[in-house]
Amino acid sequence: MPGSNGMLREISRRTALGALGAGIVGATVASWPRLTGMDIPGRGDNSLSIAIMGTAADAAARQRVIDAFTRVHPEIPVKVQAIQAVDWKDFFTKILTMVAAGTPPDVVYVATEGAQLFAEKLAHPLDDYLRRDAADMKEYFADVHPSLVEAFMYKGSLFQLPIDWNAANMYYNTSALQQAGLDRPADNWTQVDFRNSLAAMRKARPSDFTPYYWTNRLFGGVVPWLYANDTSFLKETKSTGGEWFWDSFYAQDPSRKLRSGGYQWLEPNADDPRVYETFDYLRGLVKDGLGVRPEEGGGSSLIGLFASNRIGMTPAGGYWVEGLHEAGMAEDGFDVQFFPRWRTQRHQFGTAGYAIMKTAKDKDAAWEWVKFSSSLEAMRLVFPTPNTTPARRSMVNAELYAGRGPKHWKVFYDTLDKFPTTGPIPAPAQEAAVETALMKNVSLAVSGDERQLKQALDSMQRDLEIALRRQ
């Protein structure tokens, strides 16, 4: 191709450099919105920017809610930004990075794990809006259990409205139970009954089967057992305040006198004898081959293992139902029961809802979004399938679980009604450090002898002291 070679040789260095320069300028102009962060939803215009944990598909799934919101509030443009994260801790880190970069969202979907971090440093209280719109909000609070709301109270103010939640209930494989000759556990079964059930399942299936599978994490790990034994790894107290709120919205609730200005976790409690007793019980399960040594992780592989009938029981919330259904588990292949009773039958739960950032451009518009998101219309659009438990009692119904199971789906909301002291994940403002301190010592505590257990709990106490000192 002499012709084309000749053409190439005709291009002078000046021309080539000019073309390169023009290319660089063109690329810079084309990517200017990205370079300056102008393409971040809500930035550079008056849109309300909302950050949720998830993928672009999750953001797209919210579109129907945005459309519905826009019909009611055409004057408030909304942009949802989905932020991918491994877990809530990772998600909050990314939000904080956005804050540091000067591009904070106006509203953030925050779970219990970050509720007090946001309330302490980032979020705007909802109290004034609730007082103003009390008449509109009565219907919502009448449909939502006060335990969920109390999880978002902090120092007497409410910072979020619960949208979805999950308690650590006990899932069981119905065929594994049948093989072991066992009936469905009673509502008030104890930790001794639980252990006996595991032993029977182990006897019926000695190999390629784990009677009790649990993971090392803040939700569903060791904490539900600590709660059942009427203790925790942090000392739990409650703030005063918020009386006006409870009197306004839950005056007639039977559990009204239990309600407070919010939970406080100010001191470590790993040296409590009941904590030792609880860990020793779990250590016994591991030692006798009834339960696994817990690995870290959210249990994403757990659904597959459970659906393939290789796990007898595991703690999980209503969020598991859709996953099991998609993994091919028949609706009668599994069921759910309350967590076993020990000294109490207090359960652990986690909940999530929108928080308005202190830095929000238009807090009134942000409140309209929060209020709309708590409406029955919006929540029906967000939760068409049981991939979580809606905070509204009226939505946790036979229709939601039809064709998917479990048979005893009522257990999910009954957990709150039957055990009103059921409490949130212990998550102070220093949650990330606290979670690390807990998780790093759990495996050692349940994997060795009594001496190792004692050492692990001493180490946990020390680590928690350091974690709680951090602010």
Binding site: N5, N216, E295, S301, S447
Partner: protein, 314 residues
């Protein structure tokens, strides 16, 4: 060959004579800087500024949300007293010793085997095969390995069961998890050292081996007295790079074990990450980063000092 005589744009404008022109001389002065500018700007923005910022930040308390406040050497004092930081540095050093020794030993042994024992077509295959793990994402590999080493349902224990070995708690005991982290790290990283050794072996003249044979050196002695000394420059480069990389290990322990059980697989970089992005103590994280950098610099300097005695250049 008509094109060879075609005048270039430079010669058309006077060639070397242009360089003597005042404009040409001026252009010659700034032209190198113009070419270097993108690299200098890039290095400055993405390397130099963060390094300086980290050192400065080590003297501040900063949680992203509130403005930073000067705290002097408080962060360094806290780091010195923090048992987790101490353990993580000890773990890192232990990891470096074992992982680098395995990585270099395995890479050298395989390089000698591939270079000397295999036909050329198989050599090409193994060079690619051993290098392949390096191009995979460490996080993806670690997630995959986590499934393989699961105590109850992992493939590794399933295979071991065929030879009567009971399920090994790979990721839930301090020894097991350390072993898996090292194993996965070495598997993924030895390919780079392997390629360096292959290059080094290829550069050793065959005459040297022939002379050694004439002097009566046989297989093993030939490697000890010829290959290893002549490979020492390559070994120095490979070990410096391997140690620097190993001191920064993060992905494998973070994904495989989360640093546990206890602190048994927690490394220095993991503590930096946890301090900064989980506990929002950016000042303390920077202080740990500064200490780690100083350690890396000290070890590298020591290696180069020792190289004067142990490295032989042809």
């Amino acid at each position: 060959m008509s094109t060879a005589t075609r005048p270039t744009s430079a010669t058309r404008r006077g060639g070397a004579a242009a360089n003597n022109h005042p404009n040409g001389r001026q252009r010659q002065r700034w032209l190198p800087w113009a070419f270097l500018a993108p690299t200098i700007v890039g290095m400055g923005l993405f390397t130099l500024v963060p390094i300086v910022a980290s050192v400065v930040l080590a003297f501040f308390r900063w949680d992203i949300i509130s403005p930073p406040s000067f705290v002097g050497f408080d962060n360094f004092a806290q780091v010195a007293q923090d048992p987790t930081v101490r353990v993580s540095f000890l773990n890192t050093i232990g990891f470096v010793v074992v992982a680098v020794a395995l990585q270099l030993g395995l890479a050298l042994a395989l390089a000698i085997m591939v270079q000397e024992k295999l036909p050329s077509w198989l050599r090409v295959f193994f060079r690619s095969a051993f290098f392949f793990p390096l191009i995979l994402s460490a996080a993806s590999v670690s997630i995959f390995m986590r499934y393989l080493f699961n105590e109850q349902f992992g493939v590794v224990n399933w295979l071991l069961s065929f030879i009567g070995i009971p399920a090994v708690p790979w990721l839930t005991t301090p020894t097991g998890s350390a072993a898996v982290v090292i194993l996965v790290y070495v598997w993924q990283n030895f390919g780079f050292s392997f390629l360096l050794f292959i290059g080094g072996l290829a550069s050793i003249p065959t005459e040297t081996y022939e002379a050694a044979s004439l002097d009566g050196a046989t297989g093993w002695r030939k490697h000890v007295h010829v290959t290893l000394p002549l490979l020492s420059p390559t070994t120095l480069v490979a070990s410096v790079m391997a140690i620097i990389n190993a001191l920064q290990v993060f992905d494998q322990p973070y994904v495989l074990t989360g640093g546990g059980p206890g602190d048994s697989t927690r490394t220095a970089v993991m503590v930096i990450f946890e301090s900064a992005f989980q506990r929002l103590e950016f000042g303390q994280a920077s202080a740990i980063g500064v200490i780690l950098t100083l350690i890396i610099m000290a070890i590298t300097a020591l290696q180069f000092r020792l190289s004067k005695r142990f490295v032989f250049y042809q």
